[in-house]
């Protein structure tokens, strides 16, 4: 279970993902429409964004649990054994970790000047698929880790691990969406995302070694 917790925490990278979600959902990101919004509209928009966030998190959690539950048939379909998939998952998680390490939270779009439009309140639902689920929440690393942990530790461990990671992600994202973001927060977020990226690389190495050393 500890391995599942660490791998899925690293694969989700709550700090980077929360930053991406905050960027996607924020109404204070420079949208002209958002800047002109009045108080009631802003409150409604905040609720809509929160609901979008929660729905998105629930969807990805459900997806991970579903993949963990179906891990055996998926591996059968792919014609690979659990250790082989573990090595492949290590490559994916490790690559994500490397990107986070190099780019910090910007991977999820926080610092991307070409990022999607911040969602207007009334259009929050339209942003559920893109950019909330894709590319922020549903990533190759999360899906690969979900399948690998489901195959190795069972669906219960995968559920617990993804729940922990996503609850942290949700709290962080909600805080970033609701609150002001002084420069210190941006620095902490960037450093934190890189640190979790390092953890992802370490866990990927551990997964790869584990896969190689399994008979």
């Amino acid at each position: 279970v500890t391995q599942a917790l660490l791998v899925l925490f690293a694969a989700v990278n709550p700090i980077a993902t929360a930053t991406g979600l905050a960027t996607a959902l924020s109404s204070s990101g420079g949208s002209p429409g958002a800047a002109r919004a009045d108080g009631d509209a802003a409150a409604a928009g905040g609720r809509a964004r929160l609901i979008t966030l929660l729905v998105g998190v629930d969807v990805v959690a459900g997806l991970v649990v579903l993949l963990a539950w179906l891990s055996d048939p998926i591996l059968d379909l792919l014609d690979v054994s659990p250790p082989t998939f573990r090595i492949a998952a290590a490559v994916v998680v490790g690559a994500s970790g490397l990107l986070w390490l190099l780019r910090g939270a910007s991977l999820a779009g926080a610092d991307d000047p070409r990022r999607d439009d911040p969602l207007p309140a009334a259009g929050a639902w339209r942003g559920l698929a893109v950019p909330v689920l894709v590319p922020v929440l549903v990533t190759p690393a999360v899906l690969a880790a979900g399948i690998a942990m489901g195959a190795d530790h069972g669906v219960g461990a995968a559920l617990l691990a993804v729940a922990v990671a996503l609850v942290l992600t949700t709290l962080l994202a909600a805080g970033l969406v609701a609150g002001r973001r002084p420069p210190a927060v941006a620095v902490l977020v960037a450093v934190g995302a890189r640190l979790v990226g390092v953890l992802a690389i370490v866990m990927a190495l551990a997964l790869a070694v584990d896969g190689v050393k399994t008979v």
Binding site: V80, P83, V92, R115, V215
Partner: protein
């Protein structure tokens, strides 16, 4: 969402949903394809029955028999595209091939002509070895004509060969030679279990400081075989000393990187001694070897879908055969040693997978017809159009070791109509 195609100012605007989805999908597809062609390639393990493995082993034996010359030597290396025998010979491999034929005779003892033919061919090969036996102290050593020194590996595998002949025939004809060879092997051993790889008949002493990554395990296993044949004579003590050396020091002392070196002879030694008990270090070593052989067999099963246009990654018959041999020997250890019991099921899977691949890669009679000399192609394992006698030896032994771990019953497939 912006339609950037119609808007000349779109370059400065955010990425469209469609473009974001397209880009993401492209990255996912490219990434998955790259993984599918490498780390996530399908594991292809053809299903074969015990009968298929034995039939393929018989085919290998027939290839060896067809290539045996009047003097008892075997066809060493052959290029099927050029229909050309390649020069060279190796007496350690000669001993190994002879041993594998006795194993085939033993496995086929109920049957008939296959077993008798294998025995006859092996006996002719054994004559070459017996002709080279010379006294060495109080023991016997095989000395290859024309070589200044005797190779430990040749004497070790000759010991194993004679032990296999005893298994196949039940005869004690060569028990004196077995014990004499055993005494020679013990004389090559240092206090720490390290084996010296060469013996100088002129000075009647081991050549100092020279070791071999192969011969130490071969010698240890040969001594363990003597213990099995002659329990109570004390052959287990030197065998265990060698095993201790292999398990705790060999890779470091002899500079073998990426420990443990995948030594199937050490696996044989573990399998032979496991019924009599292993210590903690030996159990750890067995586990580490199992991991190594398991990984090698698993990755070999994935190579069918690797981009062979750029690389030909498949192991030669001898390589894959050795891995099956090693995994099967460790399976025997796992079945005897409770601390290794958890390895039995995965090892059984890997052995079955390796055997399936070996049967699948054997050249069938139909495939052989496309070459200038089909008789020298049929039943063998080639890589880059080349095969060497130990390709057949290790595959034959590996398949016989796998038989009994596969689906019971007669052949489920026709591995080429080899007979």
């Amino acid at each position: 969402v912006h339609d950037r195609d119609d808007d000349p100012g779109a370059a400065a605007r955010p990425v469209s949903v469609r473009r974001r989805l397209t880009t993401t999908a492209l990255v996912w597809v490219v990434g998955f394809t790259a993984l599918r062609l490498s780390f996530l390639a399908p594991e292809h393990c053809p299903t074969v029955a015990d009968g298929d493995a034995v039939a393929a082993a018989v085919g290998a034996g027939e290839w060896i028999a067809a290539g045996q010359g009047a003097g008892g030597h075997y066809l060493y290396e052959y290029d099927r595209a050029a229909d050309e025998e390649l020069p060279g010979y190796n007496m350690v491999r000669h001993a190994g091939v002879t041993m594998s034929l006795y194993q085939l005779a033993d496995a086929d003892a109920d049957a008939d002509a296959d077993g008798d033919e294998a025995l006859a061919v092996a006996d002719r090969g054994l004559e070459v070895l017996l002709d080279g036996l010379e006294p060495a102290g109080d023991g016997l050593v095989f000395v290859e004509p024309g070589r200044p020194t005797a190779q430990l590996g040749a004497s070790a595998l000759m010991t194993a060969t004679l032990a296999s002949r005893r298994d196949a025939t039940g005869e004690d004809t060569y028990d004196d030679e077995l014990r004499g060879l055993g005494r020679f092997l013990v004389g090559q051993m240092g206090d720490d279990g390290r084996m010296l790889a060469f013996y100088d008949p002129a000075s009647e002493a081991p050549v100092p400081d020279e070791t071999s990554r192969y011969a130490t395990g071969e010698a240890g296993w040969a001594l363990a075989r003597l213990h099995t044949l002659f329990p109570g004579e004390g052959w287990d003590r030197p065998a265990r000393r060698v095993l201790d050396y292999l398990a705790t020091r060999r890779d470091r002392v002899e500079g073998l990187d990426f420990a443990p070196w995948p030594d199937q002879w050490a696996a044989y030694l573990l399998g032979e001694l496991a019924p009599h008990g292993l210590d903690a270090a030996q159990v750890r070593y067995a586990g580490a070897l199992a991991e190594r052989f398991g990984m090698l067999l698993r990755s070999e099963s994935q190579k069918g879908t690797w981009p062979v246009a750029f690389v030909d990654p498949r192991a030669r018959g001898a390589g894959l055969g050795v891995w099956v041999e090693g995994a099967a020997a460790l399976l025997r250890a796992a079945e005897a040693e409770p601390r290794l019991a958890a390895l039995a099921a995965p090892l059984r899977d890997r052995v079955a997978c390796g055997a399936g691949i070996l049967v699948d890669r054997q050249v069938t009679a139909d495939e052989a017809r496309g070459y200038p000399d089909p008789d020298r192609v049929r039943g063998a394992w080639f890589r880059n159009d080349l095969t060497r006698m130990d390709d057949q030896q290790h595959v034959l032994t590996g398949l016989l070791a796998a038989a009994g771990q596969l689906q019971a019953g007669p052949p489920a497939r026709n591995p080429g109509g080899l007979s």
